[in-house]
Amino acid sequence: MCVDIAGIKMKNPVMVASGTFGYGPEYADLVDINRLGAIVVKGICLDRWDGNNVPRMIEVRGGLINAIGLQGPGVDGFVESYMPFLRQFDTPVIVNIWGRDENEYEEVAARFDDVEGMGGLELNISCPNVKEGGIAFGTDLAMAADLIGRVRKRTSLPLIPKLAPNVPQVGLFAKAAEDAGADAVSLINTLPAMVIDVETRRPVLTNRVGGLSGPAVHPVAVKQVWEAAQAVSIPVIGMGGIETAEDALEFIIAGAAAVAVGTANFTDPTTVINVIDGMAAYLQRHGFASADELVGSICE
């Protein structure tokens, strides 16, 4: 099931989604990292960043809402604390990066250029949980294009903008990313959402708004991935609510070259392995020689 996504060689097209698998070591006892197509680590900006106050997460029907707010150790903290661990594996490392303004985005990207063992950069322009940066870039076509173009100039690593789902025509954003030099795009990030405690009349999350993920968003994600894939010729990485191999296959059939498992890592850490195995079984059962053959094979 080998695939080449934007120059990143993966054993299979199944990765773990940013923010749901930490920086690697956290799940290492439970999941064989060597089996993953790629590991995408939690969002990183330039310096240590505290994120939002708790409560940061709440379960809802069919999913969860998080407002972590991109807590992270910063570039140096990450490279020092986690890269030695991650280099042990034969699995590409994709770092999810963000900045509070364009300059920071550029600088973070540039800083990873000569870090050893980097597979690629996922450019998070769609986090609903930080006031600075984040989703504002991902929902404004001109800003998105400009930012991606600027970052492109500062990195030679495979660059994968992560698109926001809450736009009416995501294909335009995918196309803008391609035109600005992106090597692939990934989607969806979480859907902006909110829960109010009716007894206290307060938003449950301190940040008030958070991002919805999990099975509840899956059909929305499939639709967005299908649209994005039609709009571009670079690879699309699909995610949102994957719990089973079938959920993942929907993305591939809709046009995704790879997928990522997010929330389901919390529900059941064996999900990603089951998805890989289930996908392999499906390909064999249906006589596909490679995963690539299935990509975008939707019969309309």
Binding site: G22, V54, M57, P215
Partner: protein, 260 residues
């Protein structure tokens, strides 16, 4: 830490809204120490994406048990678990209570289901101390026999006075502490935030060591999602988030920065 498909041995109401769920879970039980928890996937709770964390109450001879209170939709659904069912747990998670310097006169303070890890603790140490168990009513007072049979002194308080002394557990604790002048009892506490904070504040003021087991909403349970963080003062004086699931759930009172 591993994922274990544990088979349910027994599942019984032990008083009030509390149930004990006993699992055949030899792998998890083997490595467990008091203060650690398991992250349990509630069976048949369709549409639920998060596990539920529960302190380990007992872990011996291949059996592991938890003591839980029904408080919401997950614990409600747990009531239907029957002997023979399979329950998926991840554990043991988190760090146990530090027991090296437990000293001669330890004091345990438990609120509600907070008795579970403390009962486990009492059974694992040689010393016998005092345990304060508090709750709203007598229906929230559990495990008294566990401690008594180990030779511990049990002091019960209930807010409505239906069992033991009437009042808050901290009032009873204060009275007891006043009698312990000159000793430095090490505190171990588990219970609601308000209680933990009250216990911690007193201990810090008196210069006692107090190990508090924090209760935060969790996502992953293994340190990956950053949902469960608590502000903790580091050795360098700098305050930053620590993960209750991975760096805790037990923290020493003096390093905890409570919310204003």
């Amino acid at each position: 830490m591993q994922i274990e498909k544990a088979i349910v041995r027994t599942h019984e109401l032990v008083g009030g809204d509390y149930r004990e769920l006993v699992l055949d879970a030899s792998a998890t039980a083997a490595g467990s120490v008091p203060g650690q928890f398991v992250h349990l996937r509630v069976p048949r709770l369709d549409g639920s994406v998060l596990r539920r964390p529960f302190s380990i109450y007992r872990a011996r001879d291949g059996r592991l048990s938890i003591l839980y209170k029904t408080v919401g939709r997950g614990t409600k659904a747990m009531e239907a678990i029957a002997p023979g069912d399979t329950v998926d747990i991840i554990g043991p998670l988190g760090n146990g209570f530090p027991l090296d310097e437990i000293g001669e006169n330890p004091v345990l303070v438990a609120g509600g289901y907070g008795v579970a890890p403390l009962s486990f603790l009492a059974g694992e140490v040689a010393v016998k101390g005092t345990v304060f168990i508090g709750g709203a009513t007598q229906r929230d007072i559990l495990c008294v026999g566990d401690f008594e049979s180990l030779g511990w002194t049990v002091q019960i308080t209930t807010e409505d006075g239906s069992l033991g002394e009437k009042g808050l557990v901290t009032q009873a604790l204060d009275a007891w502490l006043a009698e312990q002048q000159g000793t430095a009892p090490v505190h171990y506490a588990c219970g609601p935030d308000g209680m933990l904070r009250a216990v911690g504040d007193r201990a810090v003021a008196a210069g006692h060591t107090a190990w508090l087991s924090l209760d935060k909403h969790m996502g992953c349970g293994v340190g990956a999602c950053l949902a469960c963080v608590q502000k903790i003062r580091g050795a360098d004086g700098r305050v930053g988030w620590k993960r209750v699931c991975k760096d805790g759930p037990i923290f020493e009172a003096s390093v905890i920065e409570w919310d204003a």
